[in-house]
């Protein structure tokens, strides 16, 4: 039991980078980017093939980051310069990446078992793994926070918030969008590279459903920890990724679920998290409107009563 919780925390930290990437597109740019399913596997593929060819794991992971950047930039270009609908641009890249990923690996999967990887020095004990990965993820989170407070980062955030406004202040919103989508997929690819090194293999289907898992992490994090500022929002995403893995670990211990039900459960979590706040808001608005109308009516009739 405790072991599976530790395992869940460790996995949550590895996937947290992917969730941070999804946060950039989904929350900051307001752009649901499906490239993620492809670029996650691209990251894994690049890292695995480079490690098996004897390159250093650090270099392999950096190359994975670069691959993700390029994939994201392609989606961004399609969407901004080619005026392709955002969802479609992501889907097109996702499909294109499927073939590209097989090209990269030369076959549908590549094993890095029994090879020195970036994570091998810290794999055991699990406490060490969580500590080191935790620090690494926090560093990435803080770097992202800092970037989002620079002039360029502010322009990126404003692009998703009010593009017309930031254009009138001189930012090229096409460029900021491409930058954001690119950075997002870079982080996703690094996450894929780490998962490949931790699991011992890269697989062509390792990215399937990744966007939904990313969304679930972002939404769960927001629901539990809020999003008052960038600092808190990114922290919530990291913790959301961990909470998601713990929930999954617990759900799988219940005999009710098979591991193949995982994607259904994830989709349900996202659906609930998207629909419940909307219904809540609707009900709240209605009750406020009703109360205020009644109040105003009361004051009006009071005044009339006073006069007569």
């Amino acid at each position: 039991m405790i072991d599976s919780i530790y395992g869940a925390i460790a996995l949550g930290l590895l996937y947290a980078l992917m969730a941070l990437g999804v946060y950039i597109t989904f929350r900051i740019l307001d752009f649901p980017d499906l490239t993620v399913d492809g670029s996650f596997a691209t990251g894994g593929a690049i890292a695995a093939i480079m490690i098996t060819h004897g390159y250093s794991p650090i270099l392999a992971t950096l190359a994975a980051f670069g691959g993700g950047l390029v994939a994201g930039a392609c989606t961004g270009l399609l969407h901004t310069k080619g005026k392709v609908n955002g969802l479609l641009a992501g889907i097109l890249m996702m499909i294109a990446l499927y073939s590209i990923n097989i090209r990269i690996m030369g076959r549908p999967n590549v094993s890095v078992v029994n090879t020195e990887t970036l994570l091998s020095p810290i794999m055991k004990p699990i406490g060490l793994f969580i500590l080191v990965m935790g620090i690494a993820v926090v560093i990435v989170k803080l770097l992202l926070d800092a970037f989002l407070h620079t002039d360029l980062g502010l322009a990126l955030r404003a692009t998703g918030d009010n593009a017309r406004m930031i254009r009138s202040f001189g930012a090229n919103t096409d460029r900021t969008k491409i930058l954001g989508i690119s950075l997002s997929n870079g982080l996703v690819a690094v996450s894929g590279a780490l998962i490949a090194q931790q699991g011992g293999f890269a697989d062509i289907s390792m990215g399937v459903g990744m966007i939904v898992i990313g969304l679930a992490s972002v939404i769960i994090g927001e629901a539990i920890f809020g999003a008052r500022s960038v600092f808190i929002a990114t922290l919530a995403v990291v913790l959301g990724s961990i909470v998601y893995r713990i929930v999954v670990a617990l759900a799988l211990r219940v005999e009710l679920f098979k591991s193949s039900d995982l994607k259904l459960v994830t989709a349900l979590i996202v659906i609930i998290a998207l629909v419940v706040p909307y219904v809540n808001r609707l009900l709240k608005q209605k009750s406020v409107a009703r109360r205020r109308s009644a109040e105003l009516l009361a004051t009006v009739s009071l005044k009339k009563g006073g006069k007569s």
Binding site: F147, H149, T150, D151, L152, G153, L154, A155, R157, A158, D161, N162, R164, M165, I166, R167, S168, F169, G170, A171, N172, T173
Partner: protein
């Protein structure tokens, strides 16, 4: 300073819905001019603004700033010279970002945005001073998200953001039209103060005849994409709303038709 030379613009050209938005508009603005623009529905006032700011490109004709033709320069690059306040109070600010962050972005108008830290303490001090001059207490709420402000407060902030970097040209697109009378009056007063103090070359579209006469040193009237009247400062000081409406009828042959017009 700012010149429009033979500018024409059609909407839906070559279709049954073809509409003349601007027809051979020629305008010269001197530095420090504060021009008010009035006209009926569809007269081309907003098109004029959009063509100057770069949201639209003219079909033919030139837009010149300091003698340089800029009609092909994209909107985001023109922002170096042009500050703009929109009619919709929601349009000029980013709601999920703080007052301070919004001002930081405005501070970088037209400059390259890099990895420099956004809201430094020096900039914050500057913003606080500017905000306190608005006199509505925003200087004490610099870390509040702009989405929490009222329409009037957001428009005051938009006005500050559009002006405090002293753009060469200020475009005001019916920027008080969506506010209640008290707030509209506040924004009108702030506009007058800021434009005077900073001597900004300003172009203001308005539906409020009285406001159009009271503010600025020049008044332009538009109808069906044409500039039909251009009243200089000497004549403008003694102008009345009745005279203005009379002039319009005489020139265009119609009554000024505008469902939102305020005679003041």
């Amino acid at each position: 300073m700012l010149d429009l030379v033979n500018v024409s613009k059609l909407f839906n050209p070559g279709t049954p819905d073809e509409k003349i938005a601007l027809m051979n508009a020629n305008l010269r603005f001197k530095t420090g001019d504060f021009v008010t623009v009035i006209g009926s529905n569809g007269a081309g006032k907003s098109t004029l603004m959009n063509i100057i700011s770069g949201v639209m490109k003219p079909d033919i004709g030139e837009v010149r700033i300091e003698g340089k033709a800029i009609q092909h320069v994209p909107e985001y690059e023109r922002s170096r010279w042009i500050g703009r306040v929109f009619q919709d109070p929601m349009a000029g600010t980013a709601p999920r970002m703080t007052i301070e962050e919004n001002l930081t972005m405005a501070y970088k108008r037209g400059k390259t945005r890099g990895f420099g830290w956004g809201a430094t303490s020096a900039k914050r001090q500057l913003f606080r001073e500017h905000l306190s001059r608005l006199g509505i207490g925003l200087e004490n709420r610099m870390n509040a998200k702009v989405g929490l402000l009222s329409g009037g407060e957001r428009q005051a902030l938009s006005l500050l953001m559009a002006t405090f970097t002293k753009p060469a040209i200020l475009l005001l697109d019916e920027h008080t039209a969506a506010l209640d009378p008290a707030r509209a009056e506040l924004i009108t007063r702030l506009t007058d103060e800021i434009v005077r103090e900073m001597k900004l070359t300003t172009l203001m579209v308005t539906h409020n005849m009285e406001q159009a006469i009271r503010l600025g040193n020049r008044l332009i009237m538009m109808d069906k994409g044409r500039i039909i009247l251009d009243i200089p400062e000497e004549k403008k000081t003694n102008l009345t709303v009745a005279q203005l409406l009379g002039e319009f009828e005489q020139i265009s042959g119609n009554k000024l038709s505008d469902d939102r017009v305020i005679l003041g």
